[in-house]
């Protein structure tokens, strides 16, 4: 904490790094979980499908902040103690996976049944058909929605201030209480969130273009 914003920059960047770290872990875990759970929902696996629906409903219909409190303050009562770092990425993963499950389920459902039928008619087993046809076609359709969710997860890493994890908002808040330069420091933090999210969005659009199938009009 120095005289000018430049002196505070290393601390803020360190906070941003921590935000990125828990977000990267949380987003990765939630996307992988979302694809698997979305596929199970799409396939209508009995019992599992209903269990997933309950999970999705619970995590979509309770505030993220309450979920964080449950993980950090309620779990120790039954003997599970999580560090602020663990709480942060687990909360982002569990909360995000509920949304990603629905995003990927919708994407898999949007794959034309005729393409799946064509694969089955060639004698390809159901699981193989999912991996070679439904998954690649469904994932392309879900990139924009999944990116929006990932951006939401990164921004929501600021909630981890409540468990004392040293992410960007926590660091900024600390600097403000010591220097009282509220506008500059929170402004800088906001700019860092903004630029990071813009970059994620741009990377996602690049990914979409890269995966675009030549000749298709629908992918545009």
């Amino acid at each position: 904490m120095g005289e000018t914003l430049l002196d505070d920059l290393p601390a803020l960047l360190n906070g941003l790094g921590n935000s990125l770290l828990v977000s990267a872990i949380g987003i990765t875990v939630s996307v992988v979980l979302g694809i698997a759970l979305g596929a199970a929902r799409n396939a209508g696996v009995p019992v599992l499908s209903q269990a997933i629906a309950v999970y999705v409903n619970v995590f979509r219909c309770t505030p993220l902040l309450v979920q964080i409190f449950m993980l950090y303050f309620a779990l120790p009562e039954i003997g599970i103690r999580l560090s602020p770092f663990q709480t942060s990425w687990i909360a982002l993963a569990l909360w995000g996976a509920a949304y990603h499950t629905e995003i990927f389920r919708a994407g898999f459902k949007a794959v034309p049944p005729a393409e799946i039928l064509a694969a089955r008619a060639l004698g390809m087993p159901a699981r193989r058909t999912f991996l070679d046809v439904t998954l690649p076609l469904g994932l392309r359709a879900t990139i924009p929605a999944a990116t929006t969710m990932a951006i939401g997860q990164f921004r929501s890493s600021s909630f981890m201030v409540v468990v004392g994890y040293q992410e960007l908002t926590y660091v900024a808040n600390g600097l403000v209480s010591q220097t009282f330069r509220v506008f500059e420091i929170f402004g800088m933090a906001a700019l860092m969130y903004f630029l990071t999210c813009t970059l994620i969005g741009a990377a996602s659009r690049g990914f979409e273009t890269w995966l675009r199938v030549p000749g298709t009009r629908t992918a545009r």
């Binding site: 060639l122 004698g123 390809m124 046809v133």
Partner: protein
């Protein structure tokens, strides 16, 4: 109209008294049909007569309500059969092509044999290029389906089905979605295929194809076989009044 059932070595496909109901709707009402090795059997008849449903039962995409289907003497309509293995032996081409839009023409052809037979990529590609040459699309191997015309896509779909080396090929109104000027190129490929000795069961509205290529023409209406015989008889001098009606209507169209 039940033809006597032959179960000689040359019978590829035998349908015995096939019934199919979707709830209240009785789509197939006791269809019997025999397809011999190398034979081209053409199914004609009015829409809703059960022709396409019959093809789907042969490829076990649609379970039947009653009856038996024998593929090369083996019953495939009973419970507990491995549907995937049967489908590998029964090639199917659809009206709307249904190519995999995210894969090149070459990969559309090699995907199933590589996954199902674990055929090495290089070998599958050699066979794929041979088949593409046969359907006149050698130069399109690297293209994506949406870069091709309907007629080209349908020829790719035929080649894709042939990659599995099926015992019989089913064609479900494969020219019905095509512009008139593209119909000829697809029918040409099917004619060549028939000449090469492929066993084919073809649902079509192309009476010219039925006449020129069919060994046997079967008229289906209201879920039953109305008449069957060589094209020279069924199409020229039909015995049944229902067949005469249908032919009169198609000729006016």
């Amino acid at each position: 109209m039940t033809a006597p059932l032959e179960r000689g070595a040359d019978t590829i496909l035998a349908l015995e008294d096939i019934h199919l109901s979707y709830g209240e709707l009785h789509v197939l009402r006791g269809v019997s049909l025999t397809v011999r090795r190398g034979e081209v059997v053409v199914l004609i008849g009015p829409s809703g007569g059960g022709k396409s449903s019959l093809l789907r039962t042969v490829n076990v995409l649609q379970p039947i309500t009653r009856g038996r289907i024998l593929l090369e003497g083996e019953e495939i309509s009973a419970g507990g059969v491995d549907e995937d293995t049967i489908r590998q032996r029964v090639g199917m081409v659809f009206q709307q092509y249904h190519l995999f839009p995210h894969l090149t023409v070459l990969k559309n052809l090699t995907l199933a044999p590589r996954r199902v037979f674990r055929e090495p990529a290089a070998e599958a590609e050699v066979r794929a290029r041979e088949l593409l040459a046969r359907v006149g699309l050698s130069e399109k191997a690297g293209h994506y389906p949406d870069q091709l015309s309907g007629g080209q896509q349908q020829r790719v779909a035929i080649a894709r089905a042939l990659m599995m080396k099926p015992s019989v090929m089913l064609f479900d109104e494969v020219t019905s979605a095509l512009d008139p000027e593209l119909v000829g190129e697809v029918l040409g490929v099917m004619k060549d295929l028939a000449k090469s000795g492929m066993t084919m069961l073809v649902v079509t509205h192309e009476m010219g194809f039925a006449r020129d290529v069919g060994d046997k023409v079967v008229l289906m209406a209201e879920g039953v076989v109305v008449e069957e015989g060589p094209p020279s008889q069924v199409l020229v001098d039909p015995k049944s009044e229902r067949t005469r009606q249908f032919l009169a209507r198609t000729q006016h169209a």
